[in-house]
């Protein structure tokens, strides 16, 4: 990053960067943002004038969120009035929810946007320090909704990317908002987005000694919850297939924990693992969706197995007398990270996907479990127990650069956003009234937020971008 600073320091934009400094990191030129790197190294990132786009670079957490203005999307007819408000709100919530962006209150707006095609009064937006401006319109007719939007770089007085439109029926109006927000996010960060995605989780109700659990699917922000199972049997740890069409989970419906797979479309479920009366659990899909890796308990021993879904053929991957569970594939499908207590305590190991010698990767104090490989392939998220507390953490795949992102009485079960920037997990509170809820946190450790679910929640699994 020092290299960047030197490069930009020597660039023609040098004076503009200096001006941004004077504006307390607000990046008033629209060209620079202050970004906190691990170890509090302040770094300037920028674009070269008239060359690169307005860009917020995400490294290890943004100190100063990028200010944007989002005038209420214009309703092009009466039927679209409420829908325009809803779409605008979804976009606002998505962007501000990242912690990377800050919305400038509509009360402060000088310009009023009353028509999608009207020219943008850049001076009015510059005056309130909006770096990005998002304008849009919504029309509705016969239950069909069309959303158009544009993103503007206020200080360059130019459109950022191209205007686009999305359409759906009325029931999909929130998705339209997420799609617009995804576009804005990508254009401003250069990263893959994640707002138009779903999460499968376990919905929890009832007291601790009689917890009722149901599989549920929701939008990433907790909206549009649908239930996939009833609450008559314990269900645990659902996992999305790579394309989001199926969910693996563990159910006690037969009296034993066994692996089921349910099709999200028609909510039909079947038992995947064939051996009657054998405990099988902790399933996860391979990246190509053809194989399931899971745990089987035989006697006191729990080992990892893999099953070819099409043929049902199984293969034993580990044969240690210890507990091997919570497997997760690398995104290229070549390796599996899992937890084992073969050393005496729960630790993380990586082995070839076909089984074979495993390398231990966790060496810190405490116990490590529930490893999950990031979609980018460079990190592993995990649950750590240490000093009577639970943490969600991330480390490189060789175990280096371990960082703990959270700490509480009981944090557990991380899952990655499709772009690998955010981790969702479950947090259970202490005591007789303890309850479980879903939270998300940026992999920088910033922006810890509770996900708004209608009831309690645990065991989230984040699906792909839709």
């Amino acid at each position: 990053m020092r290299r960047h600073r030197q490069r930009f320091g020597a660039s023609p934009d040098h004076t503009k960067i200096a001006r941004a400094d004077r504006h307390i990191g607000l990046a008033a030129t629209g060209l620079a943002l202050m970004i906190l790197l691990l170890g509090s190294v302040l770094v300037m990132t920028t674009r070269v004038a008239a060359q690169g786009p307005l860009r917020i670079e995400i490294t290890e957490g943004v100190v100063e969120p990028l200010p944007f203005a989002l005038p209420l999307f214009v309703a092009e007819n009466a039927e679209a009035q409420a829908l325009a408000a809803e779409v605008t709100q979804v976009i606002s919530d998505d962007l501000t929810g990242t912690g990377l962006f800050r919305e400038i209150s509509r009360d402060a707006h000088i310009s009023r946007v009353t028509s999608f095609g009207a020219p943008v009064q850049f001076a009015d937006w510059k005056a309130i320090n909006a770096q990005a401006l998002i304008t849009g319109s919504v029309s509705a007719s016969g239950g069909r909704v069309v959303v158009k939007f544009r993103v503007w770089d206020v200080f360059a007085q130019a459109e950022l990317g191209q205007g686009m439109q999305f359409a759906s029926d009325v029931s999909g109006v929130r998705r339209l908002g997420h799609k617009v927000a995804d576009q804005v996010y990508s254009r401003l960060t250069g990263e893959q987005p994640y707002f138009d995605s779903r999460v499968v989780y376990v919905s929890e109700t009832g007291p601790k000694a009689d917890r009722k659990k149901r599989l549920a699917i929701m939008d990433y922000d907790g909206a549009n919850v649908q239930y996939l199972t009833g609450s008559s049997a314990i269900v645990l740890a659902p996992r999305f297939s790579p394309d989001g069409s199926q969910v693996l989970y563990t159910s006690y419906e037969t009296g034993f924990p066994r692996i089921h797979v349910v099709s999200v479309g028609d909510v039909r479920s079947r038992i995947l693992e064939a051996d009657e009366g054998v405990m099988s659990f902790a399933p996860r899909f391979s990246p190509d969706g053809r194989t399931v890796v899971y745990s089987v308990t035989q006697g006191s021993n729990t080992d990892l197995w893999a099953m070819d879904i099409a043929s049902g053929a199984t293969r034993r991957l580990t044969s240690a007398p210890s507990i091997e569970t919570a497997p997760s594939y690398s995104p290229d499908g070549s390796r599996i990270v899992f937890e084992s207590d073969r050393s005496g305590t729960q630790q993380l190991y990586v082995m070839p996907a076909m089984g074979g010698e495993a390398q231990r990767i966790s060496f810190g104090d405490g116990r490590y479990g529930t490893p999950v490989w990031s979609p980018r392939g460079d990190r592993i998220a995990f649950t750590k127990q240490s000093g009577g507390r639970f943490h969600i953490g991330v480390m490189r795949t060789d175990g280096s650069e371990e960082r703990l992102l959270t700490a509480s009485f009981l944090d557990e079960g991380p899952t990655w956003s499709p772009n690998g920037r955010v981790i969702m997990f479950a947090r259970e509170t202490q005591g007789a009234q303890g309850a479980s809820a879903l939270y998300s946190v940026d992999i920088s450790g910033r922006n810890l937020r509770r996900v708004r679910t209608p009831a309690g929640g645990s065991d989230p699994s984040w699906g792909p971008l839709q």
Partner: protein, 175 residues
């Protein structure tokens, strides 16, 4: 009764058990009442009550249906072995019963690990009962991990009661 038949019955019992929540066996002492109508007929003891030595209630309350474990351990303590000796004797006498051994863990652990840990505990109990002469075909085990606590406080006093194995009698057939 053949082992196959017993196994089938056990699976059926498990399937039924899987459809309910809570501590059905712990609290529902009357569940098996009448199944052993052939015993305890000559006294004032109400068959199936806790005073009937052949009743499930007696097994739960007097013999003791559960044993407890140390943190992250599945080794049987001397107290646990004494309880299991009593269970083995009862099961020898009341040979019509099958049993499902449930393994449990306290909440201080991750979900998958606790399922595996509960299985270790239940299996330790099963192995011990077999070593005391109980036919392996009468005994199955299942782990609930940390999903079914009996005590809900987040202190060792509760955790100690949740780190348990419970021998749940399943209805067999007389004769």
């Amino acid at each position: 009764m053949t082992h196959q038949t017993r196994a089938a019955l056990l699976i059926a019992a498990l399937a039924a058990a899987g459809c309910t929540n809570g501590n059905r066996f712990d609290n529902d002492a009357s569940a098996g009442a009448g199944l052993n109508a052939g015993s305890g007929v000559d006294s004032g003891i109400i068959p199936g009550s806790a005073n009937d030595p052949a009743s499930q209630a007696y097994f739960q309350q007097t013999v003791g249906d559960r044993v407890f474990f140390q943190v992250d351990q599945s080794t049987l303590t001397p107290e646990a072995r004494a309880t299991l000796d009593g269970q083995a004797a009862w099961l020898q006498t009341n040979s019509d019963y099958l049993a499902v051994i449930e393994g449990h863990a306290d909440e201080q652990g991750t979900r998958e690990y606790n399922i595996a840990l509960g299985a270790r505990r239940a299996n330790a109990v099963r192995d011990y009962l077999i070593s005391r002469g109980i036919d392996a075909g009468r005994l199955r085990f299942v782990s609930y991990g940390k999903e079914r606590p009996v005590e809900v406080c987040s202190e060792e006093s509760c955790y100690a009661k949740n780190r348990r194995s419970v021998t749940v009698l399943a209805a067999g057939l007389t004769g």
